[in-house]
Subunit: 393 residues, 2 copies
Amino acid sequence: VNLPRGFLASGVRSGIRKKFPDLALIVAPGGADAAALFTRNRFPAAPVVLSRASLARSRGRVRGAVVNAGCANAITGAEGIAAARRVREKASRVMGCPPDEVFLASTGVIGVTLPDAKVRAALPAAMARLSASGLEGASRAILTTDTGPKVASAVFSAGGRRGKIVGFAKGAGMIHPDMATMLAFLMTDVAATPSYLKGALRDAADASFHAISVDGDTSTNDTVLLLASGRGGGQRLAAPGDGPEFRVALAKVCRTLAEMIVRDGEGATRVMAIDVRGARSAREAKLAAHAVATSPLVKTALAGGDPNWGRILAAVGRSGARFSPRRVALSAGGLPLVANGCPTAYREADAARIFARDTVPVTIDLGAGGASASLMTCDLGHDYVSLNADYRS
Amino acid sequence: VNLPRGFLASGVRSGIRKKFPDLALIVAPGGADAAALFTRNRFPAAPVVLSRASLARSRGRVRGAVVNAGCANAITGAEGIAAARRVREKASRVMGCPPDEVFLASTGVIGVTLPDAKVRAALPAAMARLSASGLEGASRAILTTDTGPKVASAVFSAGGRRGKIVGFAKGAGMIHPDMATMLAFLMTDVAATPSYLKGALRDAADASFHAISVDGDTSTNDTVLLLASGRGGGQRLAAPGDGPEFRVALAKVCRTLAEMIVRDGEGATRVMAIDVRGARSAREAKLAAHAVATSPLVKTALAGGDPNWGRILAAVGRSGARFSPRRVALSAGGLPLVANGCPTAYREADAARIFARDTVPVTIDLGAGGASASLMTCDLGHDYVSLNADYRS
């Protein structure tokens, strides 16, 4: 996959991680309009603190992004901020732009200050390697416990011109719908104002990055960045109703990346697509879906391919959503398992076949109203425990 | 441990579980005053529905309790209620009391109707085995994935008389502070009114069964029953200030049982005692403690003995509690790891030693107020996954 017009990228080794590429660069030589979503965690990492402020000061202009893996630079106090600032300074010099047009993101271990000297030393090499086909390298350089790169793209027409959008992401652990939920970088050649981009990105994230859960934890570093080079020409998208095809393409790329993230959840072998209907409100539908998506009992049963719907309804029952148990229905892959709050006469073998699939679709109808919510979660198996019991070692 | 005066118990095999005793009986031949706490799950099991109503109708009088393991009889609709009613009918005949003085509790798989014929057939044998030393048998007959029985006792003096309180419990999975959180049966020979018992039980549960978490899930069947035979004589405890020594003994027994439950959490090898201080409100202190206690990343790190405090603070950061990151402090076993929102210069080996203990005490000071909360959680290791990925098979 090539980058959209107006973007170059690269991925190199800076030495933060022992054996893997760990530094990605995205550069828009002509600059880009930008919008970003950041973690809502009350311990935002140093790059989140700096990038949020920079983006506000530059009024949504970004020349380039510097992304490192292996060190989150979160909960590192003034030292962490100073280290991130030094990276920003150096990057602004090599890119030839004001510091506020440099966007930073980090992922990795919390509580360790970024070894910024390593990053600064590697920046010239990363600049030298920039190319229109650098997506592959960049997408690999931001990974941590991911099993592989996550890239998606789509084309669209806006204002009579053909446009392209390309995104890459990392995920695996600490994925939960609360805010941006991981690192994702989206680039398009469309021309659009930062405020248009912000609205489009919010909508797309609600139906994608905010609708997946791996372990209920949100990171200190979650960031989604959308860059528009405007190199496609045509009228600049500005009003929310502009560029409907661009919005569709953006939503599609975000959904694809989000599904890649949940499927590559740490140790995941299977996903459950949870669909809650008939709730009294959207809030209660979400409460029910989240309770199911984060229940360790549901997630371990999913790992075992066990059609243990009792655990699913027990999670719904403690979620805070209001309903009458006698009106609740549950089906999996179209097979009704519970109707009117009672088990149906389904055959265990049929249910077992559905719960053994790569994607287990579960629909819960609370019979209490008209609101609904969807959420995708992955199973919790031995590999999750192995990965996380000794992640730092 | 012998039962308090006025109580007999037994445990037998009814055939619900293949190889283990699965039916426990508690009988107070002279009757007992009673108070109970039940699950707040919106899918209360049939025995919960019936026992709650019975206790209200009998105005807190109980002659005996019938407890089965192996089948939760939850989400079983009218059939499940009918099956539980038939057990209650039969038990009232063999105990010679009104049906409303029979208390029912069940634990096991959800969605399967109680095979009540097996329970009814076993009731005469269970009655015949009743004895003042039957606690051991009863405490074993209520277990599911527990690794062993959980029994605690204490003595006290109330109104110039010596009294005794004995309790037994089961737990292991689906333990979370939301309501009664598991099955626990408490018996005392003190004389007390049902409303006094209710108040004392609520207070004791808040600092014990409601302060532990294994996996954040609450069951459809959680029940705590407190029975007082009055056989110790003396003035009947009625006002909240009565019998302070009894209240202390009750709290102690509940705390001991709760700690046994969390230590025997499914697959648990280690517990974390979480102490949140300096919160703006008790509610926010609890939010922060719960976020830590239920974080799969924290619990897997605990399994690995990894002093990964970054995951602890990341969970605090997304909990909803309000604070300034720069004022946050975290210590483990008295060793400061974070002060003023920054890592201290602690030695990794010292931290590792603390996180390798059976009990890892973690104190988080939010520096935002005067409220606090305590919660005990266990680790999430491979045995939890193994137990839950194929619990039904």
